[in-house]
Structures are given as C-alpha cells and as structure tokens.
Point group: C2
Chain length 312, copies 2
C-alpha cells in the first residue's frame, strides 16, 4: 500500500496505535492533540534539540533498512540530550515523504524509532506528516536536567584532561563498508547514563557528543578561545580489530577515528587531579579514556576534518 | 552567494548573530550548544509541537516572499501553543535546503521567523541545517502552561456552544488569489492571548486551532464520539467584503470558510450559560462568534473537506 492510499489521518492513527495511547512517565498528553504536554519535575530545566535525517544525504534505502534509519535518527537526537546531562522526556517526529512511498517503509522507520525509544525511556509524543519529494525524518527530543546543571560546550580550562567514552571510528568504518557494497549495520549507543553522571559530578569542564568527528567537535569546544587540545593520538580508543579492518579496506585508522563522525560518544574535559580512568569508567558505567589535555594558546588555523553540510 | 559557499557552520553563525546570543526570558542557553536549555516556572507543564513547511507543497517562492514563508511557518506552530492555552518559551528551526540555494532566501526566511518571533515573545533557541533537494522548514515550538490546565481537543459535551475567534476563509481567499497569478500576502495572527485566557476560564470544553479547515477540525473534536456539531452557517464570521471577493473569483464563500484552512483561529466549546459573545470577546481580546452548538448523537459519515497530506 502507498502512503497516498492511507492518507495523512490514516497514517497518524497508525502511528498513534503503534506508539501506544496511554500517558506514561512525564507524558501528560501524547499523540493526537494540537501539542504534547510533558511534566518535568520541580526544579528542572528543559533541554531541547532537533536533528534531521534526509534521504540521499544521511541515508539510502539501497543499503540500509528503514528500521536502522529510524534507530539512527533517534540515537543522534538522544545523544544531544546525553551531552547536556539530561534525562529524556519524549520526542516529536516530523516525517516528510513522497505520497507514493510504500507504507512498509514508514512502518520500518516507526519500528526503529519506537525500539530505540523504548530502550531509552523516551516515548513518541507527537509529530507532523507532510508530503515531500524525498523522505526525511526531523526529530525533536525533549529532556530535563536539574536546574542550572546542564553540561555545556563552554567551561574547558587550560590544564583540563580531555576524555572520551567508548570507542571512535566504528560508525565511519561501518559506513565505509556500506559504501563498498555492504549494508549499514552500526547503531551507536547514546551515552545518556554517562551524561547524567557527568552532570552530577564536580570538576567537569565542557561536554559535547562526537557527531561531526573528533577533530571537528574539539574545534567546537575550543574554537575562538585561547585554548587548544593537545591529543595523545596513540591513546584514541578504537574497537578491537579496528586497525586490521582499516588495513583491509585501505583506510587510515587515525583519520577514521578523528574525522569519521556519528560516533555519539561523549567528549568532555575534567579539571586536573580528578578521578582515574578506571574510577571514571565505573562512575559513568562505560569505558572512559583520557586522550590528551587542554593547552593554553590558540590552535593554528587549520580546517578540521569532519562533516559539514552544503559543502560541495 | 550560494549556501555551499557559506557552509553549514557559516550559516549557523549567521543565524546565531541575527537571533542574538544573549539568554533572555525563559532561555537559559540558546543557539550554539548541543541543545537549548529552557527554564519554565515552578508548577508549569511543557507544551511541544512540531510542524513542517515544504517547498512545492506548502509554499512556492514563485508567488511568495521568503519572509512571508518564514512568518507563516512560525504562525502555524504558535497557533498550536495557542490552542493549548500555553505561553511561548522558544522555538527550534530545522532547515533543509539545496546547497545551491541563494543565501538571501535563507536570510528572508530567517527575517520572517525572527519578526514573528519578536511579535510573540518566542525566541529562536536552536535548530539544525541539512542539505536536501527541496527547501523545507520544520519548526518545533515549546511553551508552558499552568500544570494540568492545558486546553485539549477532548472535553466537549452535548449542549456546549461552539465558538470561533476572528474570521474564517481569509487565508483561503488569499491563496485562491495567489493561484490566479497574485502573491500570497495573508499572514494569520496566532491567538496566543485568547488561548491563555481560555485556559484560565471555567466552562471551557474542547479547543483546537483551525488549521485544516473548520469542518475538518470540528471532526477532530467530535470524531469517534457520540457528538456532532450543529452549525448555524449564517453566523460563520468572515472578513468584510468576503462574499463580494468570492463572487468576483467565482468561489463559494461557505466552502471557503468551512474548508479553506490555515485560518489559525481558535475553535472551542463552552458550557451553556457561559458568557455572552460580547463579554467573551472582551475577555479574549478578539472578536468571538457563537457558530452553533454540540448535539448528541454521531454525525453521519461524510468526508470532511479540508487539507490532508499524501492524497492524490
């Protein structure tokens, strides 16, 4: 069946049924009204972020299942909440799609979104459907964090250690395989628990999630300030077998780890004398690696690798 | 200059400068971090809604300025807050656009968004930029309303009066003129103050904003319930000169007022014995017309006129 046979209201009803109609958690009013109503706890700030996945730009149905596209879309958004130290309240899904699209594609996207939503306690609470020439998913996630305690990109100081959760380059390696005739299989883990733990810790400087690539996101933390990252490149954490896999594909492992993007690991700085890597890893419930420190002085002007839209 | 010359980060910086960087009102952290941080007052619920405007579906640059597109996009979203009785906190803007788009088009969209934002105290707090084949704006507005006091589509009862603010059909008339070689000029007024007043009043049943058209939105209030609207069609409020203008264009004024859509007036029900039209108009600071009442019993099955996506 094509979307045009189902119609907008048929589609909304289909999504509402799949998402479940009962208010739960922070959701006072979900899908089906003019807007969703969410109920934060007393003394919480609201954290909001929006992110789009566009067919032909961020994904192709030729080498990725609709479910995977849906999962990756929500992960990218949840990762922004993680980087702020927020807990998820719910998300909105704006879908644009051609009227002739097979409804099974929408079902796949929806399944991916809802599977990931359930994993992280972030219910679908509303959205929008529109006709368009290409498929795109624009998600908005809403979260909550103790008032005044959101992590931000500002706040790094000279002398801070630079840390990253998990491993880098896995998403880029997966994409490289997919470009060579494979399929996109890697779905990152948004570091929500780690972000919340960081928001409760003392001595945290700046925090960002690695979405555009390590170098590009380091530039976000230090760009325009008299600070520069001093990286210990040998320490960049990668998944077991990463270098061998890169060698087989003729890829530079360091370039992939530093410029690949879509890692969705947390990149943060800590005041010197803070916890050991092992203690930090326990506290954040994920492996944490110190990859360098913040030095005083501006970085030499250099185009960071990493993803930027609109560039030729 | 084309977008691809400016680049994603250049564009974000351009938007950030235009939007202003200083936190204000409910905005604890605006554009430029992983997410925006908003601070509701104690005892408030958060209201969130997302809506998209897609080139070739909702607008054409051939007959409408970019500024008007931007203004209409934010009005459509703010109207959803109005229908919930919420005050605006801020909005997010996800822009998708072809890399070859002239930056002046983006500047026009931005000016329209920011002009309308300033009128209604709803600052731009974040967003996303992505390449795409066609231009689209997906906005998410966030608002706040006293806990448990959000207006909803549910809550109408048999015997309630049916009321509408302002006039109907003006947007549809404007679009009809534009389709005949004119330009889109009409920008509706989101009824934020009226919505907030309704949220504080006793005796309000259901509330919705007229976006798809009066008949379609009445169906949203009563569909699937043993209730139906009994309209006094003679009383439908239209702008002065509306019937003559329709006659000149060969249009049916009743069809336009009932099925046109994008009116962004509030449509609501009130328990019988509530205020007079004049007293209501004063309370809501906008003209209010009683256009009928809610009757018991299901409406006969009939396809309501009004906009639905994906239909051929």
């Amino acid at each position: 069946m094509e979307l045009r046979e189902l119609g907008e209201f048929g589609l909304i009803e289909r999504i509402r049924r799949a998402a479940g109609r009962r208010p739960a958690g922070a959701v006072a009013l979900g899908i089906g009204d003019d807007a969703a109503v969410l109920r934060p706890r007393t003394g919480e700030d609201i954290v909001a972020s929006t992110d789009a996945m566009v067919e032909g730009v961020h994904f192709r149905f030729g080498n990725e299942s609709a479910r995977s596209v849906g999962r990756r879309a929500l992960v990218a958004n949840l990762s922004d909440l993680a980087a702020m130290g927020a807990r998820p309240l719910g998300f909105l899904w704006a879908l644009a799609a051609p009227p002739r699209l097979d409804v099974r594609v929408v079902d796949g996207l929806l399944r991916g979104l809802l599977d990931e939503a359930e994993l992280h306690g972030c219910p679908l609470v509303g959205g929008n459907c529109s006709a368009a020439r290409e498929v795109s998913l624009t998600l908005t996630v809403l979260g909550a964090v103790k008032r005044g305690c959101a992590l931000t990109r500002r706040g790094a100081r000279a002398g801070d250690g630079i840390y990253v959760t998990g491993v880098l380059g896995a998403a880029a390696l997966d994409r490289s395989r997919a470009e060579r005739g494979g399929r996109v299989r890697f779905v990152a883990e948004p570091r929500l628990a780690a972000g919340r733990a960081l928001a409760r810790m003392r001595g945290v400087g700046a925090c960002i999630d690695v979405s555009d690539g390590l170098d590009a996101d380091l530039a976000q933390l230090f760009g325009g300030r008299p600070l520069r990252p001093h990286l210990d490149v040998e320490r960049l954490p990668v998944v077991r077998g990463f270098r061998a896999a890169c060698a087989r594909l003729g890829l530079d492992p360091e370039a992939l780890a530093r410029g690949g993007g879509e890692d969705y690991e947390l990149l943060f700085t800590l005041r010197p004398g803070a916890l050991s890597e092992a203690a930090l890893s326990r506290r954040l419930a994920v492996s944490v690696t110190c990859i360098g420190h913040v030095a005083a002085g501006r970085a030499p002007r250099r185009k960071a690798a990493g993803w930027s839209h609109f560039r030729a």
